[in-house]
Symmetry: C2
Subunit: 151 residues, 2 copies
Amino acid sequence: MVEYDFLLEELKRILKEKQLKFTRQRELVLKALYENPGHFSPEEIHRLVQQADPGAKVGIATVYRTLSLLEEEGLADSISFGKEGKRYEIGLKKHHDHLICIRCGKIIEFCDETIEKQQEAVAKKFDFEMTDHAMKIIGICKECREHETKK
Amino acid sequence: MVEYDFLLEELKRILKEKQLKFTRQRELVLKALYENPGHFSPEEIHRLVQQADPGAKVGIATVYRTLSLLEEEGLADSISFGKEGKRYEIGLKKHHDHLICIRCGKIIEFCDETIEKQQEAVAKKFDFEMTDHAMKIIGICKECREHETKK
DNA sequence: CTTGATGCAAAATATTTGCATGCTC
DNA sequence: GAGCATGCAAATATTTTGCATCAAG
């Protein structure tokens, strides 16, 4: 896993490059994503940020603006499934994909070399310059299947 | 590609099974998805349905309700990327994945046996009963790269 | 007939925007 | 200081819901 300091430096570098400003709010959002493993909606992230620093006033609009920025720059990734809206997690982790349980909503991350390689091959075949990729396997996890049997 | 009649029968079968009713509106939404290749937002689908049958009054609420139903039953698939909200396409096609160009928004569908097989292997490894899966490769298509060079 | 489905409009959510003011640089 | 970023609230956009009415089975 990437260190927080690295992510922070990366954010600063990107902001400088684009002549944007490094602000407490942007730092707080990045930190909230880093410190909370999982996938959160913009609103949840807003809450996390406020909890992390009750003093700092951070508006929901800024959270939206910052999440868009982080996603564009690859510092955050988003995923969306079923009824749920978009959810974010910290980016620049080792690349991984997701297994999502439709019963309990659990999200399991995994990484598979074979799939990664094959994705590159497909991109090449279509003459695509791949900047990112994402895979979801939707299904029912072991625990939920067991519960169902008991009923 | 699956025949429309097959999809229609499939819809009727599912509705009967769940003791739901087969209505003109549900038929129109399914048909709109079938006849229009591509990925559409609920609003666009609403428009397509109205164009297809200006006489039939179909509310946007019904479109949403129907899309949820079709998606749950596998007759429609949804995909979402970047700023865009959810977009739907007809389901029960041969399974395929997507290449999405971040410049022009073009969506290319592809199918890769190696990836399909590997997904099954992963699901098995985590003891997941896979009901569906989806993969997106995000990048820049050939055409857009060429345009950029010209600038 | 019975029960689910629909349209409509209102409500609930989610997301974006304008603008005066505050902070980075 | 100059100019971007922010908070706030208003404006939009998106999705869901309640309910009287309609229509499928």
